[in-house]
């Protein structure tokens, strides 16, 4: 049983992140008002409508009363210091937290006005609509072809071999991996480079034609060139998918996202147009973070 706290794993692999004591640096007068988010957390035509979301790990309240809308075909970046709950919040969107026994989610979470946490809701169907790409590239130890074909196979999306071939090719093309992989589709996926593996994981996620792709620090294990390729890919994909990306790199957030949400100790402090967040943040915590005073 996987009881590992996902936020712990994702933060643990960031040794270059310097952890400066938050309390010392934070101006004394800064108080976070619970449930109060500055900026524009809501939108008119939301894909996700999230109201008063709280997440508990046992007795620990990891997410504190967050309300947020995520727009259709929008790229939204979640930023914030380690342990602020952004990965946890991301994982609520396709119920990846379900497999953690001690994790409880409260509040209203809806995709296209359908409750995500409805007990009658089939989580398999949800995950087919909301795909996910993880921090560490995690291809199956199978061939490149089988990796991409796995999702369509289990969902029965292709009845004939030729249909499946088409899905695999178009997914790999969208992930910008086709030229590199077309001659070795039968090669084992774990033999590829880290950047290729991550793009393969993206191809695997889009093979089931999801509406939303969640990315949990997708570039943190990649070198700058591979990172650039993935970012390019995100820009292209934003035309047809809603993308939620958690990142530790503020430059990355600035480059790829339309809106940026700043998390702090389980609170959603500020949500705004990305330009606005990085040029004129409204909340002083956001300002401290993006200017590198802590985090």
């Amino acid at each position: 049983m996987n009881t590992m706290n996902p936020t712990v794993t994702s933060e643990a692999a960031m040794p270059e992140e310097k952890i400066v004591s938050v309390k010392e640096e934070r101006p004394a007068e800064t108080v976070i008002e619970e449930g109060k988010t500055v900026g524009h957390p809501l939108s008119d035509d939301p894909k996700f409508k999230l109201r008063n979301v709280e997440v508990f790990y046992g007795e620990d309240r990891a997410i504190k009363n967050i309300s947020l809308d995520i727009g259709r075909n929008e790229v939204i970046a979640f930023i914030g210091p380690s342990g602020c709950g952004k990965s946890t919040f991301l994982r609520c969107l396709n119920r990846m937290n379900d497999s953690i026994d001690i994790c409880r989610v409260k509040g209203q979470l809806a995709i296209d006005d359908h409750d995500i946490y409805d007990p009658k809701r089939d989580v398999v169907e949800l995950r087919a609509r909301v795909g996910m790409v993880f921090q560490k590239p995690n291809p199956f130890p199978k061939s490149i072809y089988d990796n991409v074909a796995y999702g369509p196979r289990i969902h029965g999306l292709a009845n004939r071999k030729s249909d499946l071939d088409d899905i695999v090719e178009s997914s790999l093309r969208k992930a910008g991996l086709w030229d590199e992989a077309k001659d070795r589709l039968d090669a084992i996926a774990t033999g590829m480079s880290g950047g290729q593996q991550q793009r393969l994981c993206i191809a695997r996620a889009i093979a089931v034609s999801p509406e939303v792709i969640l990315m949990d620090e997708p570039c943190s294990a990649l070198d700058p060139i591979a990172t650039a390729k993935v970012e390019e890919l995100i820009a292209e994909m934003s035309e047809s998918y809603t993308i939620v990306i958690v990142t530790h790199s503020m430059q990355q957030a600035a480059r790829v996202s339309h809106r940026t949400a700043y998390f702090h100790l389980g609170h959603l402090v500020e949500v705004n147009e990305t330009d606005k967040v990085f040029t004129s943040p409204e909340h002083e915590l956001t300002e401290s973070y993006i200017t590198g005073r802590f985090g």
């Binding site: 398999v124 169907e125 130890p141 289990i154 695997r204």
Partner: protein, 425 residues
């Protein structure tokens, strides 16, 4: 404060000590491995020197004239006549041709004792099956008597006592010179069941018994063990009952095997009224004994599947069962197989629980099925090793070699399977 130079000197001096310590540490490890290897070598050398003669049989080849007057037998198809006839007389006559000096009644009897006690019945069966052979001369190969065999094989070995008279020894030497008495590969060992007579005893019955028992064990323990491991690891809720089951499985792995024998005796034989001494019951008892090993190794193998693979599968919308069947079990399979084969090898070498369910009986016939009385290799070795006849000592060692061959084969199979599966994944 020490200056830099003296500090470097201190480090240099301590380095010497550190390296010495490291060398010593390495030496301990090498010594341990040496002791282990030496013990193993001594064990093998001992077994092989004692047991290699078990693979050799002593035969007496004679031209036997199947004279009807000598045997008091006119019609070999008549059961009454067969049971009354004297089949020893033609054998003695045939021997006498090579040893003419033995002509008194006592000497003839002594001569006849060179041939194993089943010689006469061999002639009888030959005539019963082929009545036409009456009054013809046939070349027949007999197994020599155990005492002759011991003399031929171990005359110089002080650990064996020769139980032939001086006269008999002379005759055997003479027959050996003439090529009547000869030694060859002991095919009897691999083609027959147990016998009271070492020369006639074979291990085939025990091999077949072991194989049948292992099949039952595998068929029960492997699926049940894997299913239990998968359920406990993947589906069981985290609560008191699961904890309780877990603790008990770990405890079961440490229960002495003879207890499982008692359980088999009480439950399978006593309660369910299943027959004694049969491979089915033996296999069931050994399956119970092997289950904890398979479950524990299976769980460890499942635990070692990286969580990222599970997340990846869940992320594209695989259901719990699909995650388990498509990803977790295939990845855990090499580890599960290794654990299972080690458990099976352990069961193959197990004696104690089988003694209690009656698989220790003296069984001559090679078992033909799961419900035939049978014994198994280690029990057969135990029976032979505790036997008083000299001829069984070498057979016991030969049996150990056969058992070890099986074990090594199983372990090699485990390694091969693991390599193969790992390459595929």
């Amino acid at each position: 404060m020490t200056d830099q130079r003296s500090q470097a000197e201190i480090v240099r001096n301590s380095l010497k000590r550190r390296y010495r310590k490291e060398r010593r540490f390495r030496m301990y490890g090498m010594l341990a491995i040496f002791i282990a290897l030496a013990s193993l070598a001594i064990l093998f050398a001992d077994i092989i020197t004692k047991g290699h003669t078990g693979f050799v049989k002593t035969t007496i080849t004679l031209d036997v004239t199947l004279d009807s007057d000598m045997m008091y037998l006119d019609d070999p198809s008549d059961e009454d006549q067969l049971s009354m006839a004297d089949f020893v007389a033609p054998l003695i006559a045939a021997l006498q041709e090579h040893i003419p000096e033995a002509d008194s009644a006592a000497e003839k009897r002594e001569l006849g004792r060179l041939i194993g006690s089943y010689g006469a019945s061999e002639v009888r069966n030959l005539l019963k099956d082929n009545p036409d052979l009456l009054n013809t001369t046939q070349t027949i190969e007999f197994l020599a008597h155990d005492r002759v065999s011991t003399y031929v094989k171990h005359a110089d070995n002080p650990r064996y006592s020769v139980k032939l008279s001086e006269q008999q020894q002379r005759w055997v030497d003479e027959l050996q010179e003439k090529g009547v008495i000869d030694t060859s590969f002991n095919d009897v060992l691999f083609s027959r069941g147990d016998s009271r007579e070492p020369a006639n005893a074979g291990i085939l019955g025990a091999i077949v018994g072991s194989l049948l028992t292992m099949v039952v064990t595998l068929v029960i323990a492997f699926p049940v063990g894997i299913a239990a491991a998968v359920y406990l690891e993947e589906f069981a809720p985290q609560n008191k009952i699961t904890d309780f089951i877990e603790v008990n499985i770990n405890n079961l792995a440490a229960v002495p095997s003879i207890i499982f024998g008692l359980l088999g005796l009480a439950v399978f034989i006593g309660l369910f009224g299943m027959p004694r001494s049969v491979p089915v019951v033996g296999g069931m008892v050994l399956a119970l004994m092997t289950l904890p090993t398979i479950i524990i190794s299976g769980r460890a193998a499942i635990k070692s599947v990286p969580p990222s693979i599970r997340e990846a599968a869940e992320g594209v919308g695989a259901s719990k069962m699909q995650v388990v069947l498509h990803h977790v079990i295939p990845l855990a399979m090499p580890g599960m197989l290794t654990g299972s084969i080690i458990g099976m090898a352990q069961a193959l070498g197990e004696t104690a629980p089988l003694l209690l369910i009656g698989m220790v009986a003296f069984i001559v016939d090679v078992p033909g099925g799961f419900f035939d009385s049978a014994t198994v290799l280690p029990v057969q070795i135990y029976l032979w090793a505790s036997s008083s006849e000299q001829g069984f000592i070498e057979l016991a060692s030969a049996g150990i070699m056969v058992l070890l061959t099986f074990m090594i084969t199983m372990n090699a199979l485990a390694i091969w399977l693991r390599k193969r599966l790992e390459r595929r994944w």
